[in-house]
């Protein structure tokens, strides 16, 4: 089956994505796109398939059917490494950092800077320490000692470091999977600031959450997923916060919006 890219200037265009785990159909033909320098709030109740959609995009799961276009080209993403190569950085809900490792080592994990001595390549520890401290400071995270283990830090601090790392390395797309679910009000505000910082750096952001209040402020557009289907795309100018919240809960598009939304979900 051939797929045509629908939004030709979109950064990411995922078309007719199906994902089955055995007989369980988690995603049943979802179309999803992200434009350049756009913050998309990917919303849906628990178990709607948001995280699966993202894990397909980041190479954690292979897709059962469908096609992904990235930067205008059809791509096959088989592993998280492939996704990283494309310029996609992800902050996972539970898979952010290694608690027993130091901040610097966590920061550079998977792409450590090295120097060469003959045929051997050794970690450039000085650069790792220096750069991680300054890079985190750039996004407003101030740490004292890059040798401190992550396990000693609070949930908010860890999340900050994970996001700071993603912003630093991210070239094109930053994905935040439930970044605020375990955070205090102040820490949530910080995460939202980082999100805007990433957009100003020229990146697009996918912000996944089931709590509209956290994302309404910063997002340009909302995509709502409901039981493996896409309910619809809504620009912030079109909807109020309460309408989005209702849609997540009820899984139905309000009467008023059905006219405006061409793509619309199938009315249930």
């Amino acid at each position: 089956m051939q797929y045509e890219q629908q939004n030709s200037d979109a950064l990411v265009d995922m078309i007719d994505i199906h994902k089955h785990f055995g007989s369980v159909q988690v995603l049943r033909g979802v179309d999803f796109h992200v434009d350049r320098q756009e913050i998309v709030g990917l919303l849906g109740d628990n178990g709607a398939g948001k995280s699966t959609l993202i894990k397909v995009l980041t190479g954690f799961h292979s897709l059962t059917r469908g096609q992904i276009y990235f930067d205008g080209e059809a791509v096959n993403i088989y592993s998280p490494h492939d996704a990283r190569e494309l310029g996609i950085e992800t902050v996972h809900q539970d898979l952010a950092l290694v608690p027993l490792m130091s901040i610097a080592r966590n920061f550079w994990l998977g792409q450590e800077p090295t120097y060469e001595v003959g045929p051997f390549r050794f970690l450039d520890k000085k650069m790792m320490a220096r750069e991680s401290i300054s890079a985190l400071a750039d996004v407003g995270i101030h740490i004292r000692d890059s040798e401190e283990t992550v396990g000693t830090m609070s949930g908010g601090e860890r999340q900050s470091i994970a996001i700071g790392r993603a912003v630093y390395f991210g070239k094109k797309l930053l994905i935040l999977d439930e970044p605020t679910s375990a955070l205090s009000v102040g820490e949530t505000q910080k995460v939202l600031d980082y999100t805007i910082a990433a957009k100003e750096k020229g990146m697009s952001v996918i912000f996944i959450t089931h709590n509209i209040r956290h994302v309404y402020e910063v997002a340009d557009r909302f995509t709502i997923i409901e039981r493996g289907h896409k309910l619809g795309d809504f620009y912030k100018s079109e909807v109020t916060e309460n309408e989005v919240a209702d849609m997540i809960v009820t899984g139905q598009i309000p009467e008023r919006l059905r006219l405006y939304d061409e793509e619309g979900g199938e009315p249930i």
């Binding site: 980041t58 954690f60 592993s79 998280p80 490494h81 990283r84 992800t90 996972h92 539970d94 898979l95 952010a96 950092l97 290694v98 608690p99 027993l100 490792m101 080592r105 550079w108 994990l109 998977g110 792409q111 450590e112 090295t114 001595v117 051997f120 390549r121 050794f122 970690l123 520890k125 283990t149 396990g151 000693t152």
Partner: protein
């Protein structure tokens, strides 16, 4: 208090003078010891000194050390008198060192007495009657009181454990948990636990007192050093005033001031925080404790022959432990190393005696390579099964352990032993061209040059910086600068000595002309006995005693430790190993190929096991079908003692080295002090648990 004295406050005058007086007393004491030992008036070790000029190495070390100690104390006293700010830090450290010295001297009496007394109680059936009848004074009373106290406290502890167990196990008793009296037992307050421990300690002290009375009656019956009561006095002379003084100088009012914060870092806190940085803190403490205990208990322990024997015994297992550490850090586990060792040893021997399918009967070096390749394949089998089926490595390697063992059992039927000497008349010999030695020397020089390039500039900067710090900033001032400079000079000297030696080797082999052949036994190359370093008239010459069994595998082991330590801590591969074990999902999300890391680690373990198998067979050229049985658990024990977490993500190669050394010291040391060697596995069991508890405690301290 001393802070106030240094600031010149009148009310702290007395304390200041006391601290000053004690430290001055220690200076005098240190000077006396230095003087007496260096002129032979205070013989140390197993000898009666006659000539004043004739002092042995131990006495020389003691004399120099106590002279330095005396100078340190004198410097501290001088600083206190002049009310220098830095003298507070000085006195903290000097008192701390004094406590350590006193404690060590006390232990060197207590440990032998305790060990010997318990051995005597075990050996002499009528010892108890002798104590009851013949020894007057405190001894019988102390023994019975002590035993009673120990029994009571153990009984109380057992009762508490039993009640707690019942209340938690039997659902009907669950309601009792909240009852006042029961709660006291189920969740005892700290005071209660402390009380039990105190009673236990008092009991042990009483028994020791009895021991001190009895042990002198049995001189020379064991290899354990006899009690020397003058040591007790000397130890107390250092320990008690030291403790008193340390308590006085330890309290520092913490203020935001930089200097105050530096002072608040007392030696105790400093050492604790330094230890907490290392994954193998438990192993470091255990190593020091066990090493000191055996050294104090018997003079035989530091004999070259004992040290050589325990190093030789654990060297091969230590090599495997390096690999197992890697695997454990990445969160996996290998039970099959013993069987892999058996298969590799068998193949190695078989290739040399009966021949391999295509190659025929092989020379030792190609045979070793092919055998190690076999190990490589076996490790890859483990890894591939694990990553393709995703079943736990415990199960995978349990299966392959049994399966690989079948290979040796089938290949050598009927419990025979495959011996090299049954098939060849003489052990193999290899001629090595001296060009190889020239090349090795040049490589050595390059390594030295690189080390100097990396290390010296930093040391030099540190030393010059230390000179620029003013004395009165709470640091050690000039003395710190002197120490740093001395360190710099020492490193330069060591490097220079190595260079001189390598140049000597170069010129020796260079003069002989290229192409001269030196004959070396093949097996000696793998794991031969080392008799001397350098020949008689070389610049650097060490003659190793005839009875010391120094094996080349020890050298290989240390080389492997260095290489694999660097790989683990200084390469991105090492980083991914830690990440894989620490949080597999996070590692995968950051693009680490987790499966490949695990496969690589299984192969590393297997290849290191293969190399160890070559060492084993080279040491004793014969293979039996059960070779390596039980090694897997011993190696895991070494690794766990060394601080690696069974759950992955934490550990160090140096830890595995320490774990193996602890293992070896116990194996040799227990025999030397005359304890049943059958108690070895029991002791190791206790040590494993204690080491892991210590590691956990230290890690906990780090988290806070």
């Amino acid at each position: 208090m001393i802070q106030a004295y240094l600031e010149g406050k009148r009310e702290a005058q007395t304390q200041g003078v006391i601290v000053l007086a004690i430290i001055f007393g220690f200076a005098v004491l240190g000077a006396i010891i230095a003087f007496r030992t260096s002129f032979g008036w205070m013989p140390l070790g197993e000898r009666a000194n006659i000539l004043r000029s004739d002092i042995n190495a131990l006495e020389f070390i003691v004399a120099v050390a106590s002279l330095i100690y005396a100078m340190g104390c004198l410097r501290t006293a001088f600083g206190l008198r002049n009310r220098e700010a830095s003298s507070l830090r000085w006195s903290q450290w000097m008192y701390f060192i004094t406590i350590m010295i006193g404690g060590a001297i006390l232990l060197s009496v207590i440990i032998p007495v305790g060990l010997k007394f318990s051995l005597l109680l075990g050996q002499e059936a009528d010892l108890r009657i002798i104590i009851e009848n013949d020894i007057g004074g405190l001894a019988p009373l102390a023994l019975s009181t002590g035993e009673a106290l120990i029994s009571i406290s153990l009984l109380v502890a057992a009762f508490v454990a039993l009640v707690a167990l019942l209340v938690f196990l039997i659902p009907q008793l669950e309601s009792l948990r909240e009852t006042e009296g029961i709660r006291l037992i189920v969740a005892p307050p700290q005071r209660f636990v402390l009380a039990i421990i105190t009673v236990l300690a008092v009991g042990v002290i009483f028994v020791l007192i009895a021991g001190a009375a009895v042990v002198p009656l049995y001189p020379g019956t064991t290899t354990i050093r006899d009690a020397e009561n003058h040591r007790l006095a000397a130890g107390l002379l250092f320990f008690l005033p030291g403790l008193f003084g340390y308590r006085l100088v330890r309290q520092v009012e913490e203020q935001s001031d930089e200097l105050r914060r530096a002072l608040a870092l007392t030696p105790g806190k400093f050492i604790r925080s330094e230890l907490a940085k290392s994954p193998s803190a438990g192993a470091i403490i255990g190593f020091i404790a066990i090493f000191m205990a055996f050294t104090m208990a018997t003079d035989l322990f530091l004999e070259p022959s004992s040290v050589a024997s325990f190093l030789s015994n654990v060297a091969t297992k230590g090599v495997i432990a390096i690999g197992v550490t890697y695997l454990m850090i990445s969160g996996e586990f290998d039970l099959s190393v013993g069987s892999i060792l058996g298969v590799t040893a068998l193949s190695f021997m078989n290739f040399m005696t009966h021949g391999a399918p295509i190659f025929g009967v092989m020379e030792p070096v190609p045979a070793a390579m092919l055998a190690i390749f076999m190990a490589f394949v076996l490790g890859a089998i483990n890894g591939v099964i694990l990553i393709s089926t995703r079943i736990p490595s415990f199960i995978v390697t349990l299966g392959t352990m049994l399966a690989f063992r079948a290979i040796t059992l089938v290949a050598i039927a009927g419990g025979r032993i495959l011996r090299y000497s049954d098939h060849h008349e003489a052990l193999p010999v290899i001629g090595i061209s001296n060009i190889v030695f020239l090349a090795l020397a040049i490589i050595g020089l390059l390594i030295v040059a690189y080390t100097a390039y990396r290390v010296l500039p930093a040391l030099y900067r540190g030393a010059t910086h230390a000179w620029s710090i003013h004395t009165n900033n709470g640091d050690f001032g000039t003395t710190g600068a002197i120490a740093r400079t001395a360190l710099l000079l020492l490193v330069v000297l060591i490097l220079a000595a190595i260079v001189v030696w390598l140049v000597a080797v170069l010129s020796y082999h260079g003069n002989a002309g290229g192409g001269e052949i030196v004959e070396v036994g093949y097996f000696d190359l793998f794991n031969g006995r080392v008799l001397s370093i350098g020949s008689e008239d070389d610049f650097l010459h060490v003659q190793i005693p005839r009875n010391a069994n120094v094996r080349l595998a020890i050298v290989w082991w240390f080389i492997f430790v260095i290489i694999f330590h660097v790989i683990l801590t200084n390469t991105s591969f090492g980083n991914s190993i830690f990440a894989t074990g620490g949080n597999e999902g996070a590692a995968r999300a950051q693009g680490v190929n987790v499966d490949r890391v695990k496969l690589q680690n299984f192969v590393i373990v297997a290849v290191l096991t293969g190399i160890a198998a070559i060492y084993e067979t080279a040491r004793n050229p014969g293979v039996d079908p059960l070779k390596g049985t039980g090694w897997e658990l011993e190696v895991i024990a070494m690794t766990v003692i060394g601080g690696a977490l069974l759950t992955g993500g934490y550990g160090s190669v140096v830890g595995s080295l320490l774990g193996a050394l602890i293992f070896g010291m116990l194996q040799t040391g227990l025999v030397l002090v005359g304890i049943e060697s059958r108690l070895f596995s029991g002791t190791i069991g206790v040590i494993i648990i204690a080491a892991v508890v210590l590691n956990t405690l230290v890690r906990g301290a780090r988290q806070n």
